[in-house]
Symmetry: C2
Subunit: 140 residues, 2 copies
DNA sequence: GGTACTGTAACTCATCTTGTTACAGAGGGC
DNA sequence: GCCCTCTGTAACAAGATGAGTTACAGTACC
């Protein structure tokens, strides 16, 4: 799979916002992430839809956290920017006349769901505040 | 991300092989998966490299399980066909002069590793024999 | 009104996946 | 030995997606 870097970039953005304590412009954030401001605005838009940040247009605007950094888990960040399921099923439906082809997707479903849940539960153990703490511990 | 369906197809292939008890040709398998035989051969090649199946060239050849279906976990299948890490880091390295940009990847690393481990551990709970059992319970 | 922002469309480029054709080589049956 | 049936793999096309970029409409503060 062509993995996207949106999740890692989103965590980066939120950590920046947590550290600043206020609002930052997409251009400033883009300078730290080393990308284009539009890329940041797209990420911020997804995070805003999920209620993790608040953005404001116009002069003096930008994005800021919508709640305390300790209350923003990486699970919420992941779900905000990677809405699709982790596993892709067959590109063309398998042969329904084959006993295996006709039932394999249903047979796999509970396992795939459990694996994705395990991933999300693990991500829920880390918050944006935790990330900020790890940064502070290394380079104050 | 363009999510790949290799994992689901590989599970399908192995379930077919487990059910047959012997060797199947890529053309036969392709009929159940509803794809091209070359796609199946690519999957079988990855599974063979991981020691999950044995393939044989020539007339009467094909692929068969290299060990009992109960000993093939979906974790091993996933690792065989999806060798890349689940999370992509920044496409361009973040700005090292920024306190956040310079350390965010290191700060994220333990969380990403734990999440990927949680996923793999969950997949280890299901074997190819389990899949075959789920199929049998629905359509005998 | 002017300036500083976001929101978003539109386009390009690169990469990945899948499907496909083609062909070399292996191996069993005659 | 000679077929015929297979795998292994290269090569290419088509489609999808991600990321980067430019452009511009709209909003909000001064």
């Amino acid at each position: 799979m062509t993995r996207s870097s949106r999740f890692v970039v989103a965590a980066h953005v939120l950590t920046l916002l947590a550290r600043s304590g206020g609002a930052l412009t997409s251009e400033y954030i883009a300078g730290s992430v080393n990308t284009n401001p539009v890329v940041i605005r797209r990420i911020l838009a997804a995070l805003a839809r999920a209620g993790l940040v608040v953005t404001q247009e116009g002069a003096g605007g930008g994005g800021r956290l919508a709640k305390p950094a300790a209350e923003i888990t990486l699970r919420a960040v992941y779900e905000a920017v990677e809405p699709d399921s982790l596993f892709a099923l067959h590109p063309r439906d398998p042969n329904p006349l084959c006993p295996v082809g006709g039932g394999i997707q249903v047979a796999l479903e509970p396992t795939l769901r459990a694996a994705e849940t395990a991933l999300l539960d693990s991500l829920a153990d880390t918050s944006v505040a935790d990330l900020l703490g790890r940064l502070g511990a290394e380079s104050s």
